[in-house]
């Protein structure tokens, strides 16, 4: 009869209203009505949603042990491949313009990522041959000024490998395994000074 559809619709909303209260769920369960697990919304500041391991927000540079032992060799592949061109690298050079080496590797003097342009697409991580850059999952980064706060310089980007293992255990495991394999391959056949690992 006319109006039945409207009443049935209002029944659905009333059931949802009851569902949000524990006593409501109890009543619904006694009436054998299938019940979901209550309110789906979470009050943000109090309870934060825990993100899965692969959640990615902004990139960060990985260093092993001390901040100056960073894996990045300033090869600028990520700067080239970054779709919105948000990475800007300047290689460390001495006065005569020859690249300076630390720990047997060249290193970036300046490594800026403009976080207001970066769209966290993870292509820099995919294309980096040295696993020097990874995606962070820390997302509470609001800032008031675009240029001063949102452009992360090298110092602000550097985070330790342990931090990487803490936030992304399985991913860190595969990365470490790959690095170990590469170290074993480069160390064993040549045996002398570790050559600069060339691109794949």
């Amino acid at each position: 009869m006319i109006g039945a559809g409207v009443l049935r619709g209002m029944g659905v909303t009333f059931k949802t209203l009851l569902e949000t209260y524990p006593w409501g769920r109890a009543i619904l369960r006694t009436l054998q009505i299938p019940v979901t697990d209550g309110i789906f919304t979470i009050p943000y500041p109090e309870t934060k949603q825990q993100h899965p391991e692969r959640f990615r927000y902004f990139p960060f540079l990985v260093y092993d042990g001390t901040p100056d032992n960073l894996r990045c060799v300033a090869c600028k592949i990520c700067e080239q491949e970054c779709p919105p061109q948000s990475i800007h690298i300047v290689m460390e050079k001495d006065e005569q313009g020859r690249p300076v080496k630390a720990h047997g590797r060249t290193l970036p003097k300046q490594f800026d990522v403009d976080m207001s342009i970066c769209m966290s697409c993870r292509i820099c991580v995919d294309v980096c041959p040295f696993d020097a850059i990874e995606m962070d999952n820390e997302y509470e980064l609001s800032a008031s000024d675009r240029y001063e706060h949102m452009i992360f310089d090298k110092h602000k980007l550097l985070k330790s490998a342990e931090y990487f293992q803490k936030i992304k255990p399985t991913e860190a495991a595969t990365v470490d395994q790959r690095l170990a394999a590469k170290k074993a391959k480069t160390a064993s056949p040549t045996g002398d000074k570790p050559s600069q690992p060339s691109g794949p």
Partner: protein, 421 residues
């Protein structure tokens, strides 16, 4: 008359007793005015809180719970925000009308409280033409809406204003018709008299009363521009209808008018059809027993907790026996139950298009109202079994015929959908 029920009446009498005789009528008017002046904004503020909480719960979220515990201070925060907000008047607007419109819409909403029988002989102004007063005052609102829409000089406001005036006028007719049956049966226009007449049987439980209540409630909802009839402020089409160009305190006044009128509609439906402040005919102990069963069986809490709940309910039942629940609590309970239905409608239903809305008023409610008066006549003339049966039968047939005439496709079977590979 036990004390709790007449608490306010005795307090009022005691207060007036202290004064000299000549001052008493003035002071009693002053007391009633101040009660309404305090009651109305408080009701309005906590109506917004109730609505936001209930609709939030229907939508699987919490609703305001940041300001004060359970968000109880949220209405105060809203009110303060409205005060602080800048009051923008569009350049081309007619400033005087733009200011007068919200005031003109709030004043009738508050005036309606004068004839509301809150409890046994607790009626602010016992006019013997209470019902006529209700319809006269509530129709002033449509002037204010059109004035507001016209004064804002914006296309959306004008469209919204035109729609709302058409809607309000076309829904006053079924509203009045549905109450004519009540007047015919009770023979009095005074709201207090109508409530007296429902002492042993609420009008809702008569066939013509049931249809009348539905019609009065729905046309009241339409008059207040609430879903499913909120065409004038249809935010999806006309941004915000007639109060698009309002901000700050003026917008708060519009908001207050809307909520006060929706409270008044629910209160008057309770007065006319749900037995005003009368307690339901159900004896008090069955009520207590029912509550005890629910508490006992329903919740999955620990046994002792449930045991305590049951005892509490039985204790309350005993208390109710000695001291029945005061009349004004029944009035507010029923009114807030109807407000829950109002909010429930808003949380569920989409809105009707303007021409369907008009069609519903003129082609469905109007004839049904006339048939309803005929049914009420039948009900009064013939003794109990015959009268009710005849009235009910007449209404059902009329309803079915009207549905067939107005919305034939809704009776046809659902469309069948072809599945191709």
């Amino acid at each position: 008359m036990n004390s709790l029920d007449q608490l306010f009446v005795n307090a009022n009498a005691f207060l007036l007793g202290l004064l000299p005789v000549w001052a008493r009528p003035w002071i009693s008017i002053l007391v009633r005015l101040s009660v309404i002046a305090v009651l109305a904004p408080a009701i309005m503020m906590y109506l917004t809180w109730i609505e936001r909480k209930i609709i939030a719960r229907m939508q699987n979220r919490f609703g305001p719970d940041r300001v004060g515990v359970y968000g109880l201070a949220q209405p105060l925060a809203d009110g303060l925000k409205m005060l602080i907000k800048e009051d923008i008047v569009p350049r081309g607007a007619d400033r005087l009308l733009h200011l007068a419109a919200p005031i003109l819409s709030v004043v009738p909403a508050i005036l309606l409280f004068a004839v509301l029988p809150f409890g046994r002989n607790m009626i602010p102004a016992d006019l013997n033409v209470g019902l006529l007063y209700f319809f006269a005052v509530s129709s002033v609102g449509s002037y204010a809406i059109f004035m507001g829409g016209w004064a804002s000089r914006s296309k959306f406001s004008i469209l919204g204003a035109m729609r709302s005036v058409a809607q309000i006028i076309s829904y006053e007719v079924p509203g009045v018709l549905s109450v004519v049956a009540v007047i015919m049966v009770t023979g009095t226009l005074s709201t207090a008299g109508i409530v007296e007449a429902q002492a042993e049987r609420w009008f809702l439980f008569t066939p013509w009363g049931f249809v009348g209540c539905l019609m009065f409630f729905l046309s009241g909802v339409a008059e207040v521009n609430r879903t499913p009839f909120d065409m004038p402020e249809a935010e999806s089409e006309l941004v915000a209808g007639f109060h698009t160009e309002y901000s700050g305190m003026k917008f708060a006044l519009w908001y207050m008018a809307e909520f006060l009128e929706s409270f008044a509609v629910c209160a008057f439906t309770v007065t006319f059809f749900l037995g005003g402040w009368h307690a339901p005919a159900v004896p008090f102990w069955t009520l207590a027993l029912l509550l005890a069963i629910i508490v006992g069986a329903g919740t999955r809490l620990a046994i002792p907790v449930r045991g305590a709940g049951v005892l509490a309910m039985l204790g309350a039942g005993a208390l109710w026996g000695a001291q029945p629940i005061p009349s004004w609590i029944w009035f507010f309970a029923k009114t807030y139950a109807l407000i829950f239905v109002l909010v429930w409608l808003r949380g569920t239903l989409p809105r009707l298009r303007i021409d369907q809305l008009m069609g519903l008023a003129w082609k469905f409610f109007l004839p049904l109202g006339l048939v309803n008066i005929l049914a009420a006549g039948l009900w009064t003339q013939f003794p109990f079994p015959l009268g009710t049966a005849a009235a009910a039968l007449l209404l059902i047939i009329a309803g079915w015929l009207l549905v067939r005439a107005n919305a034939p496709q809704s009776l046809q079977p659902q469309r069948v959908y072809v599945f191709a590979d």
